[in-house]
Amino acid sequence: MISVKGLIKSFGDLEVLKGISTEVAAGQVIAVIGPSGSGKSTFLRCLNKLEEPTGGTVEIAGFNITDKKADIRAARQEIGMVFQHFHLFPHLTVLGNLTYAPMKVKGETKAQAEEKARTLLKRVGLSEKADSYPASLSGGQKQRVAIARALAMEPKLMLFDEPTSALDPEMVKEVLDVMKDLAKSGMTMIVVTHEMGFAREVADRVLFLDQGKLVEEGTPDEFFGNPKTDRARDFLEKVL
């Protein structure tokens, strides 16, 4: 589903990703962890070209997006993304947020898009909020709407950038529950997260990034039980 080879990203003189390679198979859930500033967000954003990779290749959902001729908009339709700060469209209702892109981008009819949107809202437990505006929702509710909005495009995989970091503690669980449910349904997911419990329980594999390098990679049992590198050990000591 994803194949990254020698991915490099620089901002001016600052090299943020220093040659990252990894493979992700369909249906896998990958947790990306690492200290602040290690390049986790940048890595994720290179996967749907919100950042333009400086070097290396990224193949994802059947598109070689580092190829100049790649249809990047078509690729993005297959790649759902959930942001730390939700980025819901504030001037549209919850239903409007869910139906806008399917209608505009995929040409679905209003009826089709709304039917699907209501099913998704039910799935994330927000059926009664269809006609509300984002400003009236709690953080946890906003993030669940954001997940539903991404799913409304019926993507092949989902990227999450610290989806619970901006939430009050009591709202973290409701969002993680939705994500667990999604993982169980077989969705391919890349999740940048500080929730070690979630990584341990749900991820098939953990990627540990430090200073722009993929320092360690393994199953949660391997990584959390017996980290191979000093840097991973130091990091885990601090966060666990």
């Binding site: 749907n48 919100l50 993005r76 339709q77 980025h87 892109a101 505009k104 981008v105 400003a135």
Partner: protein
């Protein structure tokens, strides 16, 4: 002090007519300004480098020189250079239109750029094309930033419009001078139109506040 407003009575309808002349002129100038201003703003935000440079230079020149100079240049230079005898009205709307285009382009640019960058990223991540994103996601949100600032521009324009009296365009201000000259009393007619300007600006301010309040309310919904 010997103020005597009674002498002025026969001239009042003549001066009141100036309200429409001024408002008509402001409206036309504003329309031109908004049209060119929008185009300039789009150049600045997403135009190719030469167009962006043009828009930036344009704004810099029109904001960096006195409006009265621009007005004079157009009124006097056009006939001198082209032989076309430009009317006061035409030079006035041209100068004010071109000038307010510079200010309005900045208002629109700032309004668009004040929209959270996350909105663009969210739209891009969903595969929304650029034009649709601008039209459906960014501009509706930018509009809320733009409208209050635009109201201020309307108020400024209304007051500054008095400058056109210098080229003999018969607006409110000019009419006060004409009346003053014919009754050998300047003070009363000037006070009179001063009051009219103030009332006009107050009305515009109230409308602006109402719009702002409505926009705020729709934010919370």
């Amino acid at each position: 002090m010997n103020l005597d407003f009674t002498q002025m009575t026969p001239y009042i309808p003549y001066m009141l007519e100036g309200i429409w002349v001024t408002l008509k002129f402001v409206a036309v100038a504003l329309l031109i300004g908004a049209l060119i201003g929008t185009i300039l703003a789009l150049f600045k935000i997403s135009g190719p480098a030469p167009l962006r440079a043009f828009a930036v230079a344009y704004t810099s020149i029109f904001r960096g020189t006195p409006l009265i100079l621009q007005l004079m240049l157009i009124y006097f230079a056009v006939p001198q250079l082209t032989g076309y005898d430009i009317t006061p009205f035409l030079s006035a709307i041209t100068a004010f239109g071109l000038n307010s285009a510079a200010y309005i382009s900045e208002i629109i640019r700032a309004g668009i750029q004040a929209v959270d960058k996350g909105q663009v990223e969210a739209a891009q991540a969903l595969g929304v094309p650029y034009r649709a994103m601008m039209k459906d996601i960014i501009l509706p949100q930018a509009f809320k930033n733009i409208l209050p600032a635009l109201m201020n521009e309307v108020i400024t324009l209304t007051k500054e419009s008095a400058l056109v009296s210098t080229i003999g365009y018969l607006d409110l201000m000019r009419r006060a001078q004409v009346v003053g000259a014919s009754m050998y009393r300047q003070f009363e007619p000037l006070l009179f139109v001063g009051l009219i300007y103030w009332v006009l600006v107050m009305i515009l301010t109230l409308i602006g506040r109402k719009i702002e309040r409505r926009l705020k309310a729709s934010d919370i919904r």
